[in-house]
């Protein structure tokens, strides 16, 4: 982490990240619209620009179609076009922007965190723990990744940083057993929130998906309604494979919401728009850095405007 980055507020950083990523879209659109009318070729170029934000061919087509119906063959300014796009995108995103609400009566409110390898699960857990601790809740973490080297140590560091107990068992233990223990312990210790980390797994690895489903079943032995949230953590750089990730994790463990990480990088995260359309799952938060405070509520307006380079 470079020091000048640390000093910047999350907001400017989020914006900076997103607008750094949208620069190309913006300059593209500007170029197109100062030069000519909204003709076929222009629309095609616009579509390419949307696709290069990972919106996907279908969503891009649809947005372009809406645009062409409204404004086709008329002289429009680039700003008008960007605003139209931003509004369209915001409308799609609005219904999914929902934070996680901790149900105080549950004790513990159990949150299972899953996703493909390296997407940012463990880091996000640390950030969530920090957030809820700051609200005065008592939080407990469970080191359900018993597979990856030093995964337990990594979560332990997050436990120290957030002053949160971490339930651990030795490397190689059945993760379902860790989850089972953690649930029991959280009930006994009267924690408000229990967040369970899991090993990264690719959704096409059936045996690993079964392992995850088993964790859920075992949790439900003690708490039939749990996990109360099942979060899928998506890497913001992901492409069209995100569709298959969401579909499969949802089918296997009933994902209730998404967190998208690494939006501080050059990736534009346009996939969020496509996923919102297709799955309508809440986007609870976005990750905008590696530090403990780098988790933000998902704001559709800022996201859409940043994507389109509007302030």
């Amino acid at each position: 982490m470079s020091s000048d980055n640390i000093q910047k507020s999350w907001f400017s950083r989020l914006k900076e990240g997103l607008s750094a990523s949208s620069n190309k879209v913006v300059s593209g659109i500007t170029g197109i619209f100062t030069e000519k009318q909204l003709d076929e070729e222009t629309l095609e170029q616009l579509e390419d620009l949307l696709i290069s934000s990972d919106l996907g061919v279908n969503v891009a087509n649809r947005l372009i179609k809406t645009l062409s119906e409204h404004k086709f063959d008329k002289q429009v300014s680039d700003r008008e076009v960007r605003e139209t796009f931003a509004k369209d995108i915001e409308l799609i995103l609005e219904p999914v922007a929902k934070p996680i609400l901790i149900e105080q009566s549950l004790k513990p409110h159990v949150i299972l965190v899953c996703g493909v390898n390296g997407s940012g699960k463990t880091t996000t857990i640390g950030k969530l723990a920090q957030q809820w601790k700051a609200e005065g809740k008592s939080v407990c973490l469970a080191a359900g990744d018993t597979f990856r080297a030093a995964a337990i140590e990594q979560l332990k560091v997050w436990g120290e940083r957030t002053q949160t107990p971490v339930i651990i068992q030795p490397q190689g233990t059945d993760p379902a057993a860790v989850a089972y223990d953690a649930v029991k312990k959280s009930i006994d210790d009267n924690h408000d929130v229990l967040i369970i980390d899991t090993a990264g797994r690719l959704q096409n690895r059936a045996e690993l998906m079964d392992e995850l489903a088993k964790i859920v079943r075992v949790i439900q032995k003690t708490l039939p309604e749990a996990p109360h949230n099942c979060l899928l953590v998506l890497d913001g750089t992901v492409g069209q494979n995100a569709h298959s990730q969401v579909a499969t994790f949802k089918e296997m463990v009933n994902v209730t919401g998404l967190i998208v990480t690494k939006l501080d990088g050059s990736a534009r995260g346009g996939i969020i728009v496509a996923l919102a359309e297709k799955f309508a799952l809440p986007v609870h938060a976005v990750g905008v850095g590696e530090a403990i405070e780098d988790l933000r509520a998902f704001d559709p307006k800022i996201f859409a405007q940043s994507l389109m380079g509007l302030d």
């Binding site: 390296g118 959704q203 096409n204 890497d235 492409g239 069209q240």
Partner: protein, 486 residues
């Protein structure tokens, strides 16, 4: 099964039947479909553009030979060009420098640098007989250095001892000095993940690179990456001059367009692919497999060609469609089993699918062979048409009849029934997920055996634990147990 592009092109070329050569307008129509296929595979927009232009030029005016359809012809041209662009020959780490030869691992957060560092170290040690040291310059991620240390222990490769309060740059210097002093051939420098718009961190990696002067600067990138692959590859390349790319998570079911994007904007070779979390899951890069994967068709050319020779493609497509709907009766099973035999038996089919070396061995040791397939074919052939359509009809007396008709036992029939049910269930899942995995059904396979692309092994077992027998492998009769746990 032969999905995506071939379907699309099939439609485009339906009206083209009987024409002698590919006209410009036909090719343009086809290129629209190719463009969509590539974009859906996450190939970056700008790369798709230049690719299409190249292919269009080559395709216009080509004679369509009688034995293939125009669609197949175009696919072949597209495929050949893809392979060309991905780079023809396999490349591996170059160690032409004075030892200790530094190798620098760079990339975005979580792309797989640390794991890949250990995989490369393991291969250099075991296969290339080099004395390797690894050093973690990652002072950012919690327990990053501990992670590398543990991985080093697993493969018996030494790691630079940790010290508190050092910067990445000072660790780099210490690693060079220590490996020189201790006579190592290679020193692998693992670095913290960084986003490329963080100029502070890019300056740091530049500095590390200048100080250590690595023989290889390996960009480790995730095969699940979308359009950002070009930006990331360009920026790392501009800042430090990447010498090679390793693409991780090729065991996933992404189409892997990032490979093409990164390769074409940097021009550097893809040196290997990661196909799992385990440290032996590193494979050579095979452009033809990745090309097929990007097109969504597996090893498209050999598979389609072979299939066209031996079976009706229509038949296969019909089955693929049924699979998607989750229908799978004994007629379907029979067709599949017969296809396997026609295509040169199990060995023949497997040879066409990438990344199945291990699978072949597993199957052989599990006694899945052409003989057991022949028995299954016999059983199904002894059923009536109705029984094949509705397996539920098979009561005890019918089973006895089928058993005596096929020279098998009632148990074998039961097993086959169970397998059919299992497969119908699987089909539904596979159909939903789409893709080549459907081929897994060719083997009556359930979960662990999916001849998915670039997949070395499905099995993840924590180092140090013995392969524990898992559940019985669904579907295949009389199989010994496979380890199904990692």
């Amino acid at each position: 099964m032969f999905d995506a592009l071939s379907d699309r092109l099939g439609n485009v070329f339906d009206r083209l039947k009987g024409k002698g050569s590919l006209s410009e307008s036909d090719v343009n129509a086809a290129m629209r479909e190719v463009r969509i296929a590539l974009l859906e595979a996450d190939v970056a927009v700008e790369v798709v553009k230049s690719f299409i232009d190249g292919v269009r030029e080559r395709a216009v005016g080509q004679e369509v030979t009688k034995s293939v359809t125009p669609g197949q012809q175009v696919i072949k041209i597209v495929n050949d060009n893809l392979i060309g662009m991905l780079g023809k020959e396999a490349a591996w780490i170059e160690l032409n420098a004075v030892p200790p030869v530094p190798i620098l691992m760079i990339g975005l957060q979580g792309s797989g640098k640390t794991t890949t560092a250990a995989k490369i170290a393991s291969r250099l040690t075991r296969r290339d007989k080099k004395k390797v040291m690894m050093a973690s310059l990652d002072v950012t991620r919690p327990a990053a250095r501990e992670q590398l240390r543990v991985l080093g222990e697993q493969i018996d490769v030494s790691t630079l001892p940790m010290a508190e309060g050092e910067t990445a740059v000072s660790i780099a210097k210490r690693a060079m000095a220590a490996s020189r002093l201790q006579g190592y051939d290679v020193v692998i420098l693992d670095t913290a993940g960084r986003v490329t718009i963080d100029q502070g961190l890019m300056d740091e990696i530049k500095q590390i690179s200048e100080i250590t002067n690595p023989a290889e600067k390996i960009l480790v990138a995730d095969a699940l990456t979308g359009q950002d692959a070009v930006t990331t590859a360009k920026n790392f390349h501009q800042n430090v001059g990447v010498t090679g790319i390793v693409l991780t998570r090729m065991d996933g079911d992404s189409r892997g367009g990032a490979a093409l994007s990164m390769r074409s904007v940097t021009g550097v070779p893809i040196k290997a692919v990661g196909t799992g979390e385990k440290l032996e899951n590193l494979e050579d890069f095979h452009p033809e497999r990745v090309a097929g994967r990007i097109l969504g068709m597996g090893d498209v050319v050999s598979l389609v060609e072979k299939a066209a020779e031996t079976i009706e493609v229509k038949e296969a497509e019909k089955i693929a469609l049924k699979m998607q709907k989750g229908q799978f009766d004994f007629n379907d099973m029979l067709t599949q089993l017969q296809q396997v035999s026609k295509m040169g038996g199990l060995g023949g089919v497997l040879a066409m699918l990438p990344g199945v070396g291990k699978l072949q061995k597993q199957m052989a040791s599990a006694g899945v062979d052409d003989k057991s397939i022949a028995r299954q074919v016999a059983i199904i052939q002894s059923m009536t048409a109705q029984e094949r359509k509705s397996p539920k009809l098979l009561n005890a007396s019918r089973k006895r009849r089928v058993a005596s008709g096929s020279g098998t036992t009632a148990q074998e029939i039961n097993r086959l029934l169970k397998q059919q049910m299992e497969m119908a269930r699987m089909m539904k899942k596979v159909g939903k997920m789409g893709g080549l995995k459907g081929l897994g059904s060719l083997f009556g396979g359930g979960d662990p055996i999916q001849p998915d692309l670039g997949q070395g092994s499905n099995l993840r077992i924590p180092e140090g634990l013995i392969n524990q027998p898992g559940q019985n492998f669904p579907g295949l009769p009389g199989l010994p147990k496979f380890p199904t746990k990692r």
